[in-house]
């Protein structure tokens, strides 16, 4: 069974924690601002978390490259020197355990972080779900073209 990269899972899990929702409710194609509702301060908080966790620097001039969850993953993988395909859509073998950016132990009262890795779904499943959701209920979906 195919799955996302470790980095992708970590980023998605961290975002889910920040948004206080299940990790499978955060999809790679989600736009950080429009779909997930991150305002500029929330964006900066997320970038800070990523910089801390992966020990890297994200200069301001790179921010224009980051619009979706997948963009974040691609950016981090590129910075970390991940192999050839740096797209978040690149399918990689699932790791045995993908730790969330913030360790579950930090917030024992919230069950999500601990369970998050187990709940992570593959891109394909997520895409299917999205398609299903789109056909059944489109009211809360923004249909505009993705921002570059």
């Amino acid at each position: 069974m195919a799955s996302e990269s470790t980095v992708a899972i970590q980023i998605r899990t961290a975002l889910a924690q920040h948004l206080k929702r299940d990790a499978d409710k955060v999809r790679p194609e989600d736009r950080l601002r429009e779909d997930l509702g991150l305002d500029s301060l929330a964006m900066i908080e997320l970038l800070f978390k990523i910089e801390e966790h992966f020990d890297l620097e994200i200069p301001n001039e790179d921010l224009s490259r980051i619009a979706t969850v997948a963009d974040v993953t691609a950016y981090v993988e590129e910075k970390l020197g991940a192999p050839a395909s740096t797209s978040a859509a690149a399918v990689k073998p699932a790791p045995a355990a993908a730790p969330a950016i913030a360790p579950a132990a930090a917030e024992p009262s919230r069950p999500e972080p601990a369970r998050a890795p187990a709940k992570v779904t593959s891109i394909k499943v997520a895409a299917k779900r999205k398609a299903a959701a789109a056909s059944s209920k489109t009211a809360d979906k923004k249909k505009g073209p993705r921002r570059a």
Binding site: L41, I44, N60
Partner: protein, 442 residues
């Protein structure tokens, strides 16, 4: 000078005037050098030197490495009798600015009822330097028994207004207004209110900031609010309204304005530079660090300020914009200006004092206020430096990289602060009878 006001009639509200100015800024200590350099478009932004006493703290860890520093400030310039070691740099800057303003106004405290002279100052961060040093003693070195006895009196946000009152003998209301970047604009507005309300005859007002310190500077870097693209070309970093702007430049400085009732100023034959005609303070109740994007809240604030002043939009000839040089803030402010002034927005002179000195946070409104008063006095609007390539998102015909000369009847000062808060102050020619000409209903 006072004779000009004889027989003017009974004002609706008590009229309040500016009778003295004082400045400590990255482009000069003293109003004259400040104004001369402002008109010359001389940038006061310079490269950050390595932190004093902290040579091992790498500058490379700071995304932004430029700032509006007051490089030539000498603590020995503070008034005699004040112990420099007891007051943080921000209070020292404020003392020197106030000393100039009081001398400029000819105010003699020994001839005043001291309880009728107040001090209302703005401060955004307060005594940061000693704060950071003492935190380190406790948190990093486990030496709580070595915390300096002056830590509390120095870090307290009202240490500047306190030492000013002590130094000059002002025993009236003594307040500090802290609303981040709009602090000193609110301070001026509340000084106006205090005199109008009869709580004082004279108020020394304005603000000061000196938080170019290792932790505070790192904090603004972390917020990604600061310019990072011009670290090797400091004078180009602060560029409000320009297409290539990429964040604000932190600055430090102080400015003091002597405000008093017109009656009081006339009675003591003080120089009268301008009238502080009106003020509005509002909250956007929206977001800690970003303005409402349609500018509607800023527009309401400006409109309320004009209304309080009894000045119509057609009487405003100059706007000293908040304009910090951030990608988001500048267009929002211009949108708001267009909302309030409609077609007239195309004919008003607009500039950004921050293009010269950076964003001096709690001192910004006061330094902008000095620019307003000087523009009213001289008919000159200082350039907005680095306005090389107008950004269509925040373009106004009245923004210029050159000095603009024009008669100015009234000037509007904008200041917006973290914490979702806005201020607008209106300054007018002291001879212009603004009263009675209420703004039209909209």
């Amino acid at each position: 000078m006072g004779g000009d006001f004889a027989g003017f009639g009974t004002p609706v509200k008590k009229r309040i005037v500016v009778t003295g100015l004082g400045v400590v800024s990255p482009i000069g200590i003293g109003v004259d050098p400040f104004w001369k350099n402002a008109l010359a478009g001389r940038s006061g932004i310079s490269a950050l030197p390595p932190w004093q006493d902290l040579p091992e703290l790498p500058l490379g860890g700071y995304r932004s490495q430029v700032a509006g520093q007051v490089l030539d400030f000498d603590p020995a310039a503070i008034p005699e009798g004040v112990h420099p070691d007891r007051y943080d740099r921000y209070a020292q800057l404020s003392l020197v600015a106030t000393q100039e303003a009081v001398a400029d106004s000819g105010l003699r405290l020994d001839r005043e009822n001291p309880h009728r002279v107040g001090v209302i100052m703005g401060a955004g961060m307060g005594g940061m330097l000693i704060g950071e040093e003492e935190f380190a003693k406790v948190y990093m070195s486990n030496r709580p028994h070595r915390v300096h006895p002056n830590f509390i009196p120095m870090i307290t946000l009202n240490s500047a207004s306190g030492v000013i009152a002590m130094t000059f003998g002002a025993k009236g209301p003594n307040l500090t207004i802290s609303t981040a970047c709009s602090s000193s604009a609110h301070a001026i507005g509340l000084a106006l209110g205090a005199i109008r309300a009869g709580q004082a005859d004279v108020v020394l007002t304005g603000g000061a900031e000196a938080s170019l310190t290792p932790l505070a500077f790192a904090g603004f870097c972390a917020l990604r609010a600061l310019s990072t693209a011009y670290n090797t070309e400091p004078t180009r970093a602060s560029r409000p309204f320009d297409r290539a702007r990429d964040g604000f430049v932190m600055g430090e400085g102080a400015a003091t304005l002597v405000l008093e009732s017109l009656d009081h100023a006339v009675k003591r034959k003080a120089p009268i530079y301008a009238e502080v005609a009106g003020y509005a303070g509002t909250s956007e109740a929206f977001h800690m660090v970003v303005p409402k994007e349609d500018g509607s809240e800023m527009a309401v604030t400006m409109t309320m300020g004009l209304h309080d002043a009894g000045v119509s939009p057609t009487q405003i000839d100059y706007i000293n914009a908040h304009a910090t040089s951030t990608p988001i803030g500048d267009p929002v402010e211009v949108t708001a200006i267009r909302t309030v002034f409609k077609k007239r927005a195309d004919t008003i002179a607009v500039n950004a004092t921050k293009s010269l000195i950076g964003h001096t946070l709690g001192a910004a409104g006061a330094l902008g206020g000095v620019a307003c008063v000087m523009a009213l006095r001289t008919g000159l609007v200082h350039p907005t430096v680095n306005y090389d390539d107008p950004d269509p998102a925040c373009e106004l015909p009245g923004i210029s990289a050159e000095v603009q000369e024009r008669p100015i009847r009234s000037a509007l000062l904008n200041a917006f602060g973290f914490g979702s808060n806005n201020a607008a102050v209106v300054f007018s020619q002291p001879s212009a009878p603004a009263r009675g000409s209420r703004p039209r209903a909209r």
